[in-house]
Symmetry: C2
Subunit: 136 residues, 2 copies
DNA sequence: ACCATTTTGGTACTTAAGTATGAGCCGCTG
DNA sequence: CAGCGGCTCATACTTAAGTACCAAAATGGT
């Protein structure tokens, strides 16, 4: 953010200096004024794009908004979804059971239901499908 | 892309018209010229940012560049990495074996090595760790 | 209060995943 | 050329995952 501000103010100064100079030297006709302004507009346009790309590039997480509509469409219950989340974290059934204060047997039931509803054969596939559906 | 071009050219026209008018009306002193130009620069800066954000927003995949350095650091061989990729696709050992023309037994060896090198206990966890390391 | 769904849990079983260990083959490098 | 690392495959196990089927609470809406 510091860099951005520095670069930005530096460019503002540069532009102002450029104007100061151009008003007394290059700038003679009207068309030249328009050209200079168009150039400035273009330059700042691309600077805006560049800086934006940089700042967005720093965002590590894709921030995929969870499609709750889709979860309902698939018929996933809240508990089943909760289990699915933990599967994607790489937890085992036993670990999920401990985390959610359940028996492993209950977790297995939920997992089986999730696989059915997502039409997956394995938990790994379920995660992949869930991400395609943007519910994870 | 069509929209972008249209909006862009429209704005260029608008700016030129604005200049035409301002040169004969508002624009009287030097400071005003600078102000107008700064304004244009600012406007185009934000237009650039906005358009860039829009176009980047259409990208569905986060485009996480694969950190090949990290792969080497972890000591993952190319075959092991290939297996890891297929694990993240939700494939079973048997399916990976068929896809890569291997026996299931070889795939299991690779999987075991991957789990060791990623310090994971399960294939699901391996995928999660790999994504944190940005190698997937 | 009743019904549908969810949540929970169990048993019994099958299948997949993962570990340990050994071994042959190939290509590269000191 | 000996050796190392990577790739392949196998056997024998252990453990986790997943299926099928059932059933009792809990929950929530009409």
């Amino acid at each position: 953010m510091k860099k951005t501000v520095l670069v930005f103010s530096g460019l503002i100064l540069g532009i102002i200096l450029f104007i100061r100079l151009s008003t007394y030297t290059i700038l003679s006709g009207y068309s030249t004024l328009e050209f200079v302004i168009a150039l400035i507009a273009l330059v700042f346009f691309f600077i805006g794009m560049y800086l934006n790309k940089r700042s967005l590039g720093h965002l590590k997480k894709p921030q995929t908004k969870i499609d709750r509509e889709k979860i309902n469409t698939l018929g996933l219950s809240s508990r089943e979804y909760e289990v699915l989340e933990n599967i994607s974290e790489g937890l085992s059934n036993k670990e999920i059971a401990e985390k959610l204060f359940l028996t492993e047997s209950t977790v297995k039931t939920h997992v089986s239901n999730v696989l059915l509803k997502l039409n997956a054969k394995r938990r790994t596939q379920a995660v992949q499908i869930a991400k395609r559906f943007e519910i994870l």
